[in-house]
Point group: D2
Chain length 132, copies 4
C-alpha cells in the first residue's frame, strides 16, 4: 500500500519512526480485509456453527485494525500514549484471532491467520518505536 | 438507547455485569456522535486553525468509541481480556478529548466534553465489572 | 439520543430540516447497535448455519448505518447530493435486513427488524427533506 | 493488497467478476488511508480554515470507502443490488473529494486526489460487472 508516502506528506512528518508505523498501518488494512473476508467465508461453510468463535474474533479484529490504522495515520498534535495503547490492544486482538484461525483448515482461515500474525508483529514493532 | 435489551436477547446473556456494560455501550454511541459533530463544527469555526488538536482528538475518540461499542456488544465466546483492554483505551481517548474540548468556549465543545467525560466513566465502570 | 442538540450547536445550523435529520441519525446509531448484537446472537444460536444470510445482512446494515450517521452529522460545506444518496442506500440496507430478520423467531431478530424498519423510514423521511 | 486471494478463498467464490471487484476493494482501502491522512495533514497546515471543505469531504470519503470495501468483501447470500448502490455512492464521494483536493497544492491533497480518482473508476468498473 502507501502509508509511508502519506505520512511523509504531512506538515509534521519526521517526528516518529515513520517506516515502522507505515508498515503497521498498511498491515492493519490488509488484516482488516482478511478478517472481514474470513468472517464471511466462515458463515458460508457447512460447519458455520463450529466457526462461531472464529467469526466473532474476526469481526473484533477487523474493527480494531481499522480504528488503529486511523489513529496511526494522524500526526496532528501527536499523542503517542494513546496510539501506543491502541497498538497494544490491536496486537492482542490479532493474536487472539490468529490463534483461533490456526485451529481450522480452511484456506480463508489460513490466509487470515497469516495476516493477523504479521499485523500483531507490526503493531508491536511500531509501538516500541514510540517515545512514551 | 437500547443496549440492555440487546444484550439480554443474546443466547449467552447473563454472564457479565450487563447493566454497566449496556450503559457503557449506549454512552459510546452518544460520545461518537458528539465527537463527530464537534470535529465538523470546529472545522466551520473562524478559528479552525486553533482547533486542530480538538478536531484530531474528536476523530480518534469517535473511531475508538465505535470500535469499543462493537466489541462490547458481542458476547459469543466472550473474551473479556480484550474487551477490558479496549475499554481502558477508550477511556483514555475520551479523557484526552474531554480535556481539550474543555479549553474551548463553543457549545459543541461543551457538549462533546460532557459526553466524553461520561463515556470515560462508563468505560471504567464496565471494565471493573469484568472478571479478568 | 442527542443528535438534535449536536446539529443545533454547529456554526452552520439551520439550513436543513434538522429535526428529521436528527431523528434519522439517532436511529442509525440504534439500528447499528441492534444489527451488531443480532449478528453476534445469531452466531451463538444452535442453527447458526441457517442464519448465515441474516448475519451477513446485519453486518452490512451496521456498517452502512454508522457511515450514514457520520456523513449526516457533518454540516460543513454541506453536500446534500451525496447525503441523499447515502440515505437511500442505508434505507435499502435496512429494508433487506428487516425482511430477513422477520423470517426468524429469535428475540434479537425481532428487535433488529423493528429497528431496521424504523431506521429505513427515518432515512427516507430525512432524504425527502433535502433540497436536491 | 490481497483482496483477490480473499475472494477466491470463499466457499461461494466464482459468481462475480472477481478481478474487478478485488481491484475495487483494494483501492477502497488505499483511498480511505489517503483521505484519513489528507484530512489530518490539512488540519496541520497554516491555512486549515480554507481547507475545511477538503477535510470534510476527506472524512466522508474515508467512511464510505471503508463501508463499501466491507460490503464488497462479503459474498454470503450475495445481494448485488445493495452492493451496486453502495459502489455508486462511493464513486460519487470519491469524485467530490478528488475535485476539492485538486484545488489545493499540498502534496497530501495531490496524493489523495489521485487515489480518489482511481477509486471512483474502480467502483464504477466493479459496479458495471454486477448482474443487476
Amino acid at each position: 500500500m502507501n502509508a509511508l508516502e502519506l505520512l511523509r506528506a504531512h506538515p509534521q512528518a519526521g517526528g516518529r519512526a515513520e517506516e515502522a508505523m507505515a508498515r503497521c498501518i498498511d498491515e492493519c488494512h490488509r488484516c482488516a480485509a482478511a478478517c472481514t473476508a474470513c468472517a464471511d467465508a466462515c458463515l458460508a461453510e457447512e460447519q458455520a456453527r463450529q466457526l462461531a468463535l472464529c467469526i466473532r474474533l474476526d469481526l473484533d479484529c477487523a474493527d480494531i485494525c481499522i480504528a488503529t490504522a486511523r489513529v496511526a495515520l494522524r500526526l496532528t498534535g501527536v499523542d503517542d500514549a494513546l496510539l501506543k495503547r491502541m497498538l497494544e490492544t490491536c496486537a492482542i486482538a490479532c493474536e487472539l484471532c490468529a490463534a483461533e484461525c490456526r485451529q481450522h483448515d480452511h484456506e480463508h482461515c489460513r490466509l487470515c491467520a497469516e495476516r493477523c500474525e504479521r499485523c500483531a508483529e507490526r503493531c508491536r514493532e511500531a509501538g516500541q518505536g514510540l517515545l512514551v
